[in-house]
């Protein structure tokens, strides 16, 4: 591992993004546009206040998962990964480079979605804002880490896109949005217990409702962060210097 190489990798990925304005626009604008759409569909500030934290959770994850899995898949199939593996680049340099670059992109995404929600859409957060931002960023990192991991199981970009609903839909269905987790059948609740998104959504709900989020908030945050680290390490294990 080397800080110089990690930073160079993050800079390279941000430069690639800079050349692809459309992806940047989609990444930054889509969550905000969906928030606005939802606001007018629900047309009730209290109900919107319940759903907004969920969206702030789901979107950074979703977008980062998609962008990362396709970007790393391209790296695997275009031969640049093989070239890098023949160079003095550590596997964690690459993964952290992706995490850093897309984490920064997630910051822009979350900042805009939050700013619009808090002003135009009248989302009311009683406490400080930093817990929301923290959870949203961890979520984005979790998406990045899982995207890296899942890209190892896809051979084509088409397959990578198909993986998105496979990873996303169970997490959203079982995340306690539609039915509170405690009211699910035991098997589903147990599955829900091991899906990191459940804790992200819980943490975000606490951050939005509680002016002084306490121990349970931090437990959720730790679980989400731990899952991201675990996914990152598993992702590193799928990157091999020598391939068959």
């Amino acid at each position: 591992m080397s800080l110089v190489i990690t930073l160079a990798t993050a800079r390279r990925i941000l430069t690639q993004l800079r050349h692809d304005r459309r992806t940047v626009a989609l990444m930054v604008l889509v969550p905000t546009l969906v928030m606005i759409l939802l606001y007018y569909v629900i047309d009730d500030e209290r109900t919107f206040g319940r759903f907004a934290p969920v969206l702030l959770c789901v979107f950074p994850f979703l977008v980062m998962f998609l962008v990362t899995s396709i970007a790393t898949l391209r790296e695997r199939t275009s031969g640049t990964l093989e070239r890098l593996m023949a160079m003095p680049l550590g596997r964690l340099d690459l993964l952290l480079g992706y995490g850093l670059a897309f984490g920064l992109a997630a910051c822009a995404q979350v900042a805009l979605a939050l700013a619009v929600s808090l002003t135009w859409l009248g989302l009311d957060v009683p406490g400080p804002l930093w817990p929301l931002v923290l959870v949203a960023l961890l979520d984005a990192l979790l998406g990045t880490a899982l995207g890296l991991l899942c890209s190892a199981f896809a051979r084509t970009e088409f397959q990578a896109v198909q993986l998105m609903p496979v990873v996303m839909i169970p997490q959203v269905l079982l995340g306690g949005i539609l039915v509170p987790r405690a009211r699910m059948t035991p098997v589903l609740e147990w599955v829900s217990d091991v899906l990191p998104m459940s804790y992200a959504i819980e943490a975000m709900a606490r951050a939005c409702a509680d002016p002084d989020p306490g121990g349970e908030f931090w437990r959720d945050v730790a679980l989400v962060a731990g899952s991201a680290v675990l996914a990152l390490l598993l992702g590193a294990a799928t990157l091999r210097r020598r391939t068959p």
């Binding site: 990798t9 031969g79 640049t80 023949a86 160079m87 680049l89 210097r241």
Partner: protein, 242 residues
């Protein structure tokens, strides 16, 4: 006896299987330092697989590969070998210069290295062009430029001249000999036999086995022909008769 001072690559009994079938059947050869060695053979004979084994990105099933005095794939070798893959591994969504700057940072190459290698491969005009907009020949040279970053002692170039026009091919071979003149070792693969004449030493591969390991003149003499393509055909016929 193997002499590390004169030998850049020493391979002993190298076996590699890919997709369940053995594709390299126990190769043994050496590549001398400071020369241009050609790795010749028809498509599918195992050139790319062999080169991947030398740079340490191929899982091998047996044998010993020593590169610049260290086992292939050692961490210490990663700065000393330049490798250009058969399909040019450059980011299509970065400019040529951005590509070079990134790989130079990974290698810890000097700050002015990107500009230097661009000039050497004759691609300075396209420095600010996106990879996706380059022609095939330009893309090839961009890949080659990356391999030259940091002045590696050994350059492993997989079919760097395939599909290029004759003028460009001539220029690249001149560049390879210039690099060898400065002390670098080059291993250059090709499936076109007439490129063999431009190498100082030849390793001819067929179906994962070495058909010949000689100088171009030695090969002509042994097969009693002046045409290297004909020489290859005679080697195949001899092997079939044996």
């Amino acid at each position: 006896m193997m002499n590390f001072a004169d030998t850049a690559v020493a391979v002993r009994g190298l076996r590699v299987s890919r997709g369940g079938a053995e594709v390299l059947h126990g190769l043994t050869f050496e590549v001398p330092r400071g020369q241009v060695t050609g790795l010749l053979g028809p498509s599918g004979c195992g050139k790319t697989t062999l080169m991947r084994a030398l740079v340490g990105v191929q899982v091998v099933s047996g044998g010993e590969v020593t590169v610049l005095g260290e086992p292939a794939g050692s961490a210490g070798l990663r700065r000393r070998i330049g490798y250009s893959t058969q399909s040019p591994a450059v980011y299509r969504d970065l400019t040529v210069l951005e590509n070079l700057r990134y790989f130079a940072a990974v290698l810890g190459a000097p700050k002015d290295d990107p500009e230097r290698v661009l000039t050497e491969v004759g691609l300075a005009d396209a420095a600010h062009q996106l990879g996706a907009t380059l022609s095939g020949g330009q893309l090839n040279r961009a890949g080659l430029a990356v391999a030259m970053l940091g002045r590696p002692e050994l350059l492993v170039l997989d079919e760097p001249t395939v599909g290029l026009d004759p003028v460009l091919r001539q220029e690249l071979w001149a560049l390879f000999h210039r690099l060898a003149g400065r002390g670098a070792t080059l291993l250059v693969s090709s499936h076109v036999m007439d490129e063999a004449a431009r190498c100082e030493r030849l390793i001819v591969l067929r179906q994962g086995e070495i058909l010949a390991d000689d100088t171009p003149d030695g090969l002509r003499e042994a097969t009693r022909t002046s045409d290297l393509e004909e020489a290859f055909l005679r080697l195949v016929a001899e092997r079939a008769a044996a």
